[in-house]
Amino acid sequence: MTSALRTRREERLNYWLFSLPAFILYIFVFAFPIILSTVISLSDYKGGQMFGGEAWRILGFRQYGVLFSDPAFWMALKNNLYIVLISVFGQLPLGFLLAYLIFRKIVRFGEFWQGILYVPAIISVIVLGIMWKMIFASDGPIADLINQAYMGTFKNALHHIVDASGGFKVTDDFVRQVLAAGDPKAVATLFGQPVAELKDYIVTSGFDMSNVDAFISEMYNLFAPKWSPEFLTRQDSAMIPILFVTLWCWTGMYLILFLANMQKIDSEVLEAARIDGANEMQIAGHIVFPSLSGVIFNAAILCIAGSMNTYALIYAMTGGGPMNVTEVLSIYMYRTATLGVNYPLSNAIAMVIIAFSFVLIGLTKFAEKRFGGKE
């Protein structure tokens, strides 16, 4: 009896010796900050010494009222929702499709494709965010390529007009054609009476057959159509590159997850279906998709958790701008804490982020129960 007791005591002692270091760190990084955050969100703490400094009081849910009446909060919440949606309904289906192509050996060298598609997920999103910011910049490579195409078309058109005029005859009609090849807006801002003014300009500048190329590049500089993409600097489009990069970055991860689970499907079932004459759509829809449903729901939950964690990518690409239109909740929280130095408000945001992600995860769990998902 005493030996059994001693064993029990030793068991308990060892249990805590083994698990306590990890649990203390868990409290340090997760549990305590959550409690602290709850308390501060209900208080009027203004920074400075929290213990033994200037007194601060619990005021109640006042900050949550402030939060819910701030349009910036709803904007950030909406952007978070966009990111959740593009993740769940973009990354997952795409990952599934690509995994299926590899799994069914519709494309060969599966490991090669998989290896390449995962590369973005391993690299720091700060690096990738800055890289994409430069790609989408108004003087970036996308703008360059499209403007080169514009330039080609414009120059061809002008060559054509010059050739058709029969030896550079500067008639009104000639000038009208040249103007028509240009950007109407640029033309309108440049000239009051386009035809007369440009005709005068061409004649006095001494353009003729000998310097057609100079003529064309002059016209190009004056009023050719040019495209200046402002994806990231325009308020109505700045979220689009962010959503694109979100999709770009993580799809490979779900490809790997789905492919690994597809490979667990009993190959005899697939073989039987093939012999019965099922086509790929039927095999995908009736065998592979149902047997992965549990994995898909789990992936959706991880996907939501990851989306709510989005921070660094937006921090690097736009910093939340222009005019805060690309803020997600975590960036909005950072701004209220660092720029506004409003700790109660920013902690209220932290609480809302946690609550919101668990609501979404709960909904996913509910959907899983409702529509069935097998492990």
């Binding site: 060892n14 270091p21 959550i34 598609l117 990851g306 932290a350």
Partner: protein, 311 residues
Amino acid sequence: MMDNAITNPAIEAVKKTLAAVGKAIAYAVMGVFALMAIYPIIWLFINSFKSTPDYRIDKVGLPPVWYPQNYGGAWDIGEFSTFIPNSVIYTVVGTMGVVMLASLAGFAFAKIRNKATGPLFGSFVLGILLSLSSLMIPLFLQLSQFDNVLGRLLAGIHLIGKATDFHFFYNSRIGVILVYVGSGLPLAIYLITEYIRGIPTALVEAARIDGASYFTIFRRIILPICVPIVTTVAIVTLPNIWNEFALINIIVGKTELQSLPLGILRFSGSLSSDYGKQFAALVIGLLPMLVFYMIFHKQITKGVSGGAIKG
């Protein structure tokens, strides 16, 4: 198929063509996505060897003159000789801490009976889903306030001079590593506990009857069996810590303690128009993880497919 007996050559030909078209589309889809995934990174590499004026002229093609001087310039200006060693310290110590504490706790949760396992293990699993970036402000307050309290205590007993200079948690390597170990634990504990649960309990019980202590059992029996999962956990944890940004951005203010992602961001803020050096800095930023991936891509794939993912 039904018409197998008839074998109409025309129908067969149409079927073959359709199959070929389907395959071509499948390859096109895969090729486009793979190219999309990798081309921007190749583009980055290429442009890191262009001088800034050459980049302004041509943003897509190969450099007319290869200009590796970008790297020397970026390295000096970017203070990468500070940031990279910092990142190495945080990542190596952090990953080791995660793996050690998680295997200890995983052993307790899986093989030592205790009523606390339910809530404890459950709270770790919940931690996997918690958005860590949402805790950055409370974490910052917690760390700086702990320092404040500790500093006043130590100054009170004359161990240190001024309470305000005391940094143990905030703006300190120890603080960063504690936070990183803590944030890596939930996923690691989940994976390792599930794995140890698969080891026959009879093995542990037999050793207990032979009089082995729990620590001996852990060291001699459990750890050797756990080498594969511990490797997987380490390989999945490592890039997460290396690339972490949100937390370290707020819990470390001093430049000499900052990590590589912070350094890259600083660089892009101060030198945004010197494109050549900017690209070189980005390549310096992505190269370590790219090399890591090339070496360990099999294990990384295994880790990810086991559900060890974190978006």
